[in-house]
């Protein structure tokens, strides 16, 4: 019996007994509710054929009671169901799919193994349209009023992947605003937009039906220059929004928490991770529509808040992992085992895995080889351990994916077998092979053999390496005393650690000192006063004012930072450091700023609003210009918060003086998430929104009109196609948010990197959003990228969570793949020392004279020094000349 496969959006079918999806953990089969026996007490065939006797169809649900100190709700989301509205044609027209359906179609583990096929004729669609904002940004019944925040960029991703699948495909996106407000998203949009055959059309689009013969979908839309058009597409993708999880009312009742008006979790503006019930925390999209990085740092932040509550019980339930003693195999002849992974269909459908296994067995020193469906599955990993022991293997090669994600897991399988983990080698036959050569199966198989042969050659030369434990200093240093820095410092301190908080100004508060209220109505100054008082009152937080950092040395767990401050010069010893150096408002050089006092920035406007500035309130016409100093050649990014800032100030002005005419000149209104509701409110209150294109920027000049000096703003309205002139009494520039002046300096001191826009570059945009690639250094707040106050707070808790992961341990492990100097060969020329930017190499006096020496805790294993040494005296372990050259030699078959 076959039933629709739920993981693949019910596009293909599956059996009642199946594996949920190919990377599921644990990777075991289960029986779902479509089972004939469970439904009608029939069948039972599976029970009798399962030799392991693993199937028990008579299990009953069990109730388990757990006593816990805190709860984290990560309930996720439900994609919007377009079936609720007939006009979307979903379910009625075969070739209309949702973006979730399309995501599965694109996936190599999807219903057609990575082929995009139409439901009607199983052909590859050549002409595909995406319609944005399905179920979002609409107040019509059945839709949601908020912006779902992620659809613009996921659509761009789907366009890029589609072009990757089918270079000739024509991709059209019907959109409202393009909301590329995330870090590096502006460039991502440009990348999608610049692909040949892609069109981004700013228009509402409606599905009018399908061609009865071809089943092509007919879409009607309108553009400013061409009017109403009707066009046929092979397939239409509905970019559906995010909605609260299923049964959210019931869940809220169960946990005793309140929901907001959109049925997501109701949360606290100054602590977005808190629910209305103490001890119950929230992370991920249940907070509201959020992208991956925000989900990840809210998860880590929820961890930190549980830590604050339960710190006294930390580590009580952990068990230490005990590995068998390591066998000394260094003097044994290499006995290499090769495990070739099918990765489901990822490798297996392209590469002839059994023939690679057979080939591996012909290679020198290979004593064992086998295939595996998923080498990373728990049972397969155990098999690697078992076979290593049984066959006496002392080198193991996993021919599977990139080592980037799973190498630690496979190294672990060797440790479990009592073999040094550096005897593990991965041959990447997926990313480097099957994924790119899916159409050349035979060649791909040959290439897999080449890659395995090279790995075998390298494995022969591998050496056992020792990692070592470094002690961890339990103090944290937080650089920057703004909202993010203070929040992070408090959370760390509340989990039992001493925190040194350094602030470059005389007072704490950072950029928030100039912010008075938020869109949602938070009184920022009151909150800030409270926060600053709590920081000062905390006995474990030491605040350094007027501070500058003179020097930073050391390494994870053991940093020493020299700080000059109101306390004099101090050497702070700390185990972790959080960089929360904030950002600044760009000082415009355009639009008469600085020349005419009627031209001010949004932050200056806010100041004037709270002070009831007479001149400002006397304005009859007020114009705001968005994207000043960003989304241009100098700063190719969106500063994310300025649209919300403009709406916030416009609403406040309308409150104070409803008759004031307010114009917002924008490119795309990027009021993502709930801010969309305020955008709508502003529009309803007659704030006028006029869009402009980058080619026709607004022009401003100071003129005299009716005896009164005004700023004449000329803008070309793309809808009317005409230039409009507005005489403004006040011109407000939504100036970009730029990295603070000290960012670069701090980055150099702590040896962390910046992105092209000179914001801090996190270790991984999605998966490690609060840590740097440099161990023990973390980040939060505006210094990472512009963000709203609530987002900064959430990220600050996230950083605290990661800091605690480090500080709660007594030791950290340093890698064994680092450089080492062979003293006999060293001629003390210093070439390696000048090459090492980590400062890991120094001269030491030895019995044989002055020689270079590598400090193993500072070396990060880049190996640049190796290519500088004229005598080859310095070697990067695990990437030695022997290891790499043997691989190069093996690349040539039969050499």
């Amino acid at each position: 019996m076959e039933y629709p496969d739920q993981f693949n959006q019910e596009i293909n079918s599956n059996k009642a007994v199946h594996i949920f999806f190919s990377q599921a953990i644990p990777l075991v089969a289960y029986i779902d509710e479509s089972c004939l026996y469970l439904k009608e007490k029939k069948c039972l065939i599976c029970e009798s054929v399962c030799q392991a006797g693993a199937i028990d169809l008579h299990q009953e649900p069990e109730k388990i009671e757990l006593n816990v100190g805190a709860i984290i709700l990560s309930l996720g989301l439900e994609p919007f169901d377009p079936k609720v509205k007939d006009e979307y044609g979903y379910g009625r027209l075969q070739n209309v799919v949702t973006s979730m359906d399309y995501e599965r179609l694109l996936s190599s583990t999807g219903p057609y193994a990575g082929q995009v096929l139409r439901a009607s004729d199983k052909k590859h669609p050549q002409k595909i349209a995406w319609i944005q904002c399905i179920g979002s940004r609409r107040v019509t019944p059945g839709d949601n009023s908020y912006c779902s925040a992620v659809c613009c960029t996921y659509t761009q991703k789907q366009v890029i992947l589609t072009k990757d699948h089918e270079a000739e495909a024509e991709c059209t996106v019907f959109h409202n605003d393009i909301r590329s407000y995330g870090k590096d998203f502006e460039r991502y949009f440009q990348r999608a937009d610049n692909l040949s055959g892609t069109r981004f059309i700013r228009s509402y689009a409606s599905i009018v039906g399908e061609d009865p013969e071809t089943k092509n979908v007919i879409v009607k839309y309108a553009t400013a220059d061409q009017g109403v058009k009707v066009e046929e597409f092979d397939m239409v993708v509905l970019s559906v929004g995010l909605t609260p999880p299923k049964n959210v009312d019931k869940l809220a009742e169960t946990f005793g928490i309140e929901l907001n008006s959109h049925n997501f979790c109701k949360n606290n503006l100054i602590n977005p991770i808190e629910t209305t019930r103490p001890g119950v925390f929230v992370s991920g999209t249940f907070v509201g529509p959020t992208d991956i990085p925000e989900s990840v740092f809210s998860a880590s932040g929820a961890g930190a808040q549980c830590g604050q509550l339960l710190d006294r019980r930390r580590g009580k339930l952990t068990k230490e992992r005990i590995y068998p003693p390591e066998k000394d195999v260094a003097n044994e002849e290499p006995r290499i085992g090769v495990f070739v992974c099918h990765c489901g269909a990822n490798i297996g459908s392209v590469v002839n895995v059994p023939s690679v296994v057979e080939y591996a067995l012909t290679l020198p020193n290979v004593v064992y080889a086998q295939e595996q469906l998923f080498s990373c599955a728990t049972n397969s990993a155990m098999q690697i351990t078992d076979m290593t022991k049984e066959k006496g293997l002392n080198r193991v090669i996993i021919a599977a994916c990139s080592p980037r994600t799973l190498e630690p897991l496979f190294r672990d399988t060797l440790q479990e077998a009592g073999i040094n983990k550096y005897y593990c080698e991965m041959a990447n036959i997926r990313e480097h092979n099957s994924w790119v050569h899916s159409k050349e199966k035979e060649d791909a198989t040959e290439k897999a053999k080449d890659i395995v042969r090279m790995s075998v050659a390298r494995a022969y030369h591998l050496e056992p390496l020792q990692e070592f434990d470094l002690p961890v200093n339990k103090t944290a240093l937080v650089v920057g005393g703004g909202i993010a820095g203070m929040t992070c410092a408090l959370s760390i301190a509340n989990q039992g650690h001493t925190v040194c908080l350094v602030e470059k100004e005389k007072e704490l508060g950072g950029a928030a000192r100039r912010i008075h209220y938020t869109l949602e109505g938070l009184d920022v100054q009151a909150y800030l006063r409270d926060l600053i008082r709590t920081v000062y009152q905390h006995q474990s937080i030491h605040v350094y004012h007027d501070a500058s950092i003179l020097d930073a040395s050391g390494y994870v767990g053991n940093f020493i930072t020299k700080v000059k401050s109101d306390k004099g010069i101090s050497d702070i010893k700390h185990g972790a450091v959080v960089l929360a150096t904030g950002a600044e408002e760009y000082k415009p050089t355009e639009y008469l700023y600085g020349e005419d006092d009627k031209v001010i920035t949004q932050v200056e406007l806010e100041e004037k609003i709270v002070n009831d500035d007479e001149k400002l309130l006397a304005s009859e016409n007020l114009v705001m210009i968005q994207c000043v100093g960003c989304r241009n050649e100098d700063r190719n990014y969106c500063a994310r918060i300025c649209c919300g800032h403009a709406i916030k100030n416009a609403l406040k002005l309308k409150e104070k003086k409803p008759e004031m005419d307010i114009y917002v000149l924008f490119r795309d209104m990027r009021t993502y998430g709930y801010a969309e509701d305020y955008y709508r409110e502003a529009s309803n209150k007659d704030v006028k929104f006029i869009r402009w294109e980058p080619e026709t920027r607004p022009k401003v000049q100071a003129v005299e009109e009716g005896g009164k000096p005004v700023i004449r703003v000329a803008v070309t309205d793309p809808v009317l196609g005409q230039e409009i002139a507005i005489d403004a009494d006040s011109l407000v520039l939504s100036a970009a948010v730029i990295p603070s002046a000290t960012t670069k300096e701090v980055a150099n001191l702590f040896k962390v990197t910046l992105n092209p826009d000179e914001f801090f570059k996190e270790a991984h945009a999605k998966l490690k959003p609060v840590e740097f690639a440099t161990d023990g250094v973390y980040l939060c707040g505006l210094a990472q990228y512009p963000k709203r106050i609530t987002e900064s707070i959430s990220q600050a808790y996230g950083a605290a969570g990661r800091v605690l992961t480090l500080l709660s341990h007594d030791t950290v492990v340093a890698s064994g793949a680092i450089c080492e100097v062979m003293e006999d060969a060293c001629v003390s020329c210093g070439a390696c020392i000048t090459a090492c930017t980590y400062g890991a190499i120094e001269f030491v006096d030895t019995a044989k004279g002055r020689k270079a020496w590598v400090n193993p805790v500072l070396c990060k294993g880049d190996g640049v020094c190796n290519t500088k040494c004229p005598t080859g005296a310095i070697t990067l372990k695990h990437f030695t000349d022997d290891e790499l050259l043997s691989q190069i030699d093996a690349a040539m078959p039969g050499l």
Partner: protein, 212 residues
């Protein structure tokens, strides 16, 4: 490991093994995964290696470096496809250049012997103070670089080759010149320097030179 770990020896070894092309992929410039910006070292080494290749009669287009980040899968595939195509057009190593396999191998071996020296030269004379791709490419294409290359590398290469020949058997200036495709006066100049250093000696009876 950083792309800056790619040693000249790795590249030359691949060519000596008979590979028709070598492609080096590094992180995007100025977006270093470490803090070392070792990808600039990789760029410098690549540009130097291309000069060496041109000098020994190998088409420098057989060596390419591209910089990209982890999400540039498509770019990597495109770059490799384009590179494979251009290497295919160049034909098998040496054949495309009209070089005999033995001669080529001899020259490559001579260069590989110089790698430790080339590291010193790079450090002392060829290192760029400015980290920009444009500056690197400009410098390596400049007349100044040509002068330095001739002064520091080309002469050494000639000597390295002469020494390798003489290690096999004693030869006359004329024989050396014709084997290496150099003018007899150039060979005489190198031989003079080498005998001054006591590396070779003149055999009066045989009218040829031999390893000292």
């Amino acid at each position: 490991m950083c792309s800056g770990r790619i040693d000249l020896e790795f590249i030359l070894r691949a060519f000596a093994n008979g590979h028709d092309g070598v492609f080096i992929g590094g992180c995007k410039l100025n977006e270093c995964n470490y803090v070392t910006q070792g990808n600039y070292d990789a760029l410098g080494n690549t540009l130097l290696c291309r000069k060496i290749m041109a000098y020994i009669g190998l088409n420098p287009e057989r060596l390419k470096i591209e910089f990209m980040n982890a999400s540039d899968g498509i770019k990597l595939a495109e770059s490799i496809n384009a590179f494979s195509e251009s290497v295919n057009e160049l034909g098998p190593l040496g054949q495309g250049e009209g070089e005999k396999e033995e001669g080529l191998k001899f020259k490559l071996d001579a260069v590989r012997k110089l790698v430790p020296y080339l590291r010193l030269v790079e450090r002392e004379r060829l290192r760029m103070p400015v980290k920009s791709e444009e500056a690197y490419r400009k410098f390596f294409a400049s007349p100044e670089m040509d002068r330095l290359f001739n002064e520091l590398v080309a002469n050494k290469m000639a000597m390295s080759q002469i020494m390798m020949l003489l290690r096999e058997k004693p030869l006359s200036t004329g024989e050396i010149a014709s084997t290496l495709g150099l003018s007899p006066s150039e060979v005489a100049k190198h031989i003079n320097v080498s005998s001054m250093h006591g590396l070779v000696r003149y055999d009066v009876a045989q009218n040829n030179y031999a390893i000292a």
